[in-house]
């Protein structure tokens, strides 16, 4: 139990405070040496790669980013000085993230509660787990295609609008947000479930011993204690929504401006179409129609900064949680 304390022998050599002599790598097996070299190279290589992305985008972004770009609406023009900023895509990104998260949180938290706390019969729990894994594994373009098929049903016409001739357009902020919630669901679910599973058994026992039902225990004790896990999941979910392009391309209409539908204020925006920073970058990249690479770099920089900030936030939440409660935070799997 007690820590090893070195014996100071009189007249002996002063003990070395560091490690003792180790075996030389040149005596190791070839395969061991190879794996060691690969491990170091891969780790350092990834650091260099991410540093390259951030530095390159940073230099380009700062070079082309003007504060005005954030506050002016885009307009169609062949001249870069006339094509405006990216206010609408910026608002579109934020709006989509809010809708997606608002739909994903209740879905993910409730399913995590069911799996972690009830989960019976166990075959049904396994089915739920694999269903969420399938959602997590589905490529976003496939989700988008599926979403388009669903939201073009006549049933969902109020969520977008009917084109002339009666066909349902199927593209709106609600439609895109609903599919985005599926993108945000897996990390949110995983973070919440892991938090619940990691919640110490004595918390549950304490609540049961006070005469609380299982659901009261979950609502009043367990959910508050996994609040930071949920927050981590939310930030992870937001960064996935913000970074997604396929769903925006197919389900948001990819209009340059936010085009409202109908006359009810607020609701008309939700039914309307728009675009996000990701599609704006795509359109203005040399591959897209706008061909304004400088604006693309500026928008990409804004996007990158936003996602980096979210990552820092995730890290912060994790640390403050373990500091405040002493409970180990199991990070949400992506």
């Amino acid at each position: 139990m007690s820590a090893f304390t070195p014996q100071y022998l009189p007249g002996g050599e002063p003990p070395n405070s560091g490690h003792g002599r180790r075996s030389s790598p040149w005596t190791w097996r070839w395969s061991d040496r190879l794996v060691l070299v690969c491990a170091w190279t891969a780790g350092i290589g990834l650091c260099l790669l991410s540093a390259a992305i951030v530095i390159y985008m940073g230099v380009r972004g700062i070079q082309y980013l003007r504060p005005g770009l954030l506050f002016t609406r885009p307009s169609v023009s062949t001249s870069q000085s006339q094509s405006g900023g990216f206010l609408d895509p910026l608002i579109g990104t934020a709006l989509l993230a809010v809708i997606g998260i608002a739909l994903a949180v209740p879905l993910a938290v409730c399913s995590a509660i069911w799996v972690a706390e009830y989960g019976r019969p166990s075959w049904l729990a396994r089915v739920v787990e694999s269903a969420i894994e399938i959602v997590a594994g589905t490529p976003d373009i496939v989700l988008a295609l599926f979403g388009l098929a669903v939201f073009q049903l006549g049933l969902f016409a109020p969520l977008s609008f009917r084109a002339e001739g009666g066909g349902v357009f199927g593209r709106s902020f609600v439609a895109a947000g609903a599919m985005m919630s599926l993108i945000a669901l897996p990390p949110l679910y995983a973070a919440t479930r892991d938090g619940l599973l990691a919640a110490p058994a004595h918390l549950r026992e304490a609540a049961f011993a006070l005469g609380k039902t299982r659901i009261a225990t979950i609502r009043r004790v367990l959910l508050p204690s996994v609040r930071s896990n949920i927050a981590t999941g939310v930030t992870l979910g937001i960064s996935r929504i913000v970074g997604d392009t396929a769903i925006v391309l197919l389900l948001l209409g990819e209009t340059l401006h936010i085009e409202a539908q109908g006359s009810v204020p607020g609701l008309n925006v939700l039914r309307g179409t728009g675009s996000t920073l990701t599609t704006y970058v795509y359109d203005n990249s040399p591959a897209g129609e706008g061909a304004a690479p400088q604006k693309a770099y500026a928008a990409a920089f804004v996007l990158l900064v936003f996602v980096l900030c979210l990552n820092v936030l995730v890290d912060r939440i994790g640390r403050s949680h373990s500091r405040a409660t002493g409970l180990a935070l199991s990070g949400g799997a992506v």
Binding site: E205, A206, F208, A209, K212, P224, L327
Partner: protein, 320 residues
């Protein structure tokens, strides 16, 4: 008769060689088969009296002052519990009175905690646990009560302090809330919360900031908070599962004094590994060994004049 006087008397009888001072069917041991248990004087003759081996002779003066046995609260009748067919508690019968502290002692794995957890049906959370026999709370079978009702009437304090990760106020209020369907206002709860904290002897230390997170409190304070939380809904019985084993001696002393005071209003059942603690706080002691109730009687009886060989070995520290 004080323990010291009893001790003197034992010595006197031992010298005189009176073997059969206590009749075989001693009314103080209705649960033990008189045929199997040797008369107590034989034990005293065999070897030095047990009491001498026990170093702790101090008695809690508070307990002596307030020891008034009230009505019977819990009656355990032929209770057996087994986990997946393996018996943990075998046909135990006990009765627990208001105004009394019953200590369950015995070596590890002897079924003390299982017996305790059966009294508020927490063993039901273990799917493999099965039970036979009955436990009556004020004459009513606890298995006929809804578990939520039972557990507010038979409250429990655990080995590890386990406050919820919320404020001090909310920890106690949580126990009080939700008994009524509507969520009561803080203003209505505040006097009840403060009263519970006062009874648990914690209020003076936390009165300045009841909204502090409970996990910032020291271990002993957390345990007293758990006691406050348990006694807030005014239970009839308080179960304590080694409440001091995670605490330092000073906090332990505070909690032991508290147990002495709480005994006035409720029946306390305490599981402890610490024999000196059992001796200090308990009015009655039940000694369990491998699931059997070996000895059950007043603290003085069990510690100073145990009837069974195993009890004597255990209280002398021969095994455990």
């Amino acid at each position: 008769m004080s323990p010291e006087e009893m001790l003197l008397e034992q010595h006197r009888f031992a010298r005189e060689g009176e073997n059969d001072l206590r009749p075989a069917g001693d009314p103080r041991s209705p649960l033990l088969d008189a045929e199997e248990v040797p008369p107590i004087r034989t034990i005293v003759l065999d070897r030095p009296p047990t009491a001498i081996a026990l170093p702790v002779r101090e008695r809690n003066p508070l307990r002596e002052a307030t020891s008034t046995t009230g009505p019977e609260r819990l009656n355990v009748n032929e209770l057996s519990v087994s986990y997946g067919g393996k018996p943990a508690v075998k046909s135990v019968s006990l009765s627990i009175h208001q105004g009394e502290v019953l200590a369950l002692i015995g070596p590890s794995g002897c079924g003390k905690t299982t017996l305790l957890r059966t009294l508020n049906r927490l063993t039901e959370l273990t799917p493999s646990a099965t039970r036979s026999g009955e436990v009556l709370l004020d004459g009513e079978d606890i298995h006929d009560l809804p578990d939520t009702v039972l557990r507010t009437r038979v409250a429990m304090v655990f080995q590890q302090p386990n406050p919820f990760p919320m404020s001090i106020f909310d920890n106690v209020a949580f126990a009080l809330r939700e008994q009524s369907r509507k969520r009561p206002h803080r203003r209505e709860l505040e006097p009840l919360v403060i009263d519970a904290l006062k009874r648990a002897g914690l209020y003076e230390e936390v009165r300045d900031d009841l909204d502090r997170p409970a996990l910032r409190l020291s271990g002993g304070q957390q345990q007293r908070l758990c006691i406050a939380r348990a006694i807030a809904p005014r239970p009839e019985v308080l179960l304590m599962d080694e409440p001091c084993s995670a605490l330092d001696p000073i906090s332990t002393g505070v909690i032991e004094r508290l147990i002495g005071e709480l005994r006035r209003e409720l029946a306390v059942v305490i599981v402890t590994h610490n024999l000196a603690q059992a001796h200090r706080v308990a009015d009655r002691v039940a000694f369990l060994y491998l699931g059997d109730l070996v000895e059950y009687g007043s603290t003085a009886e069990v510690f100073e004049a145990p009837r069974a060989q195993r009890t004597r070995d255990y209280v002398q520290g021969a095994f455990g």
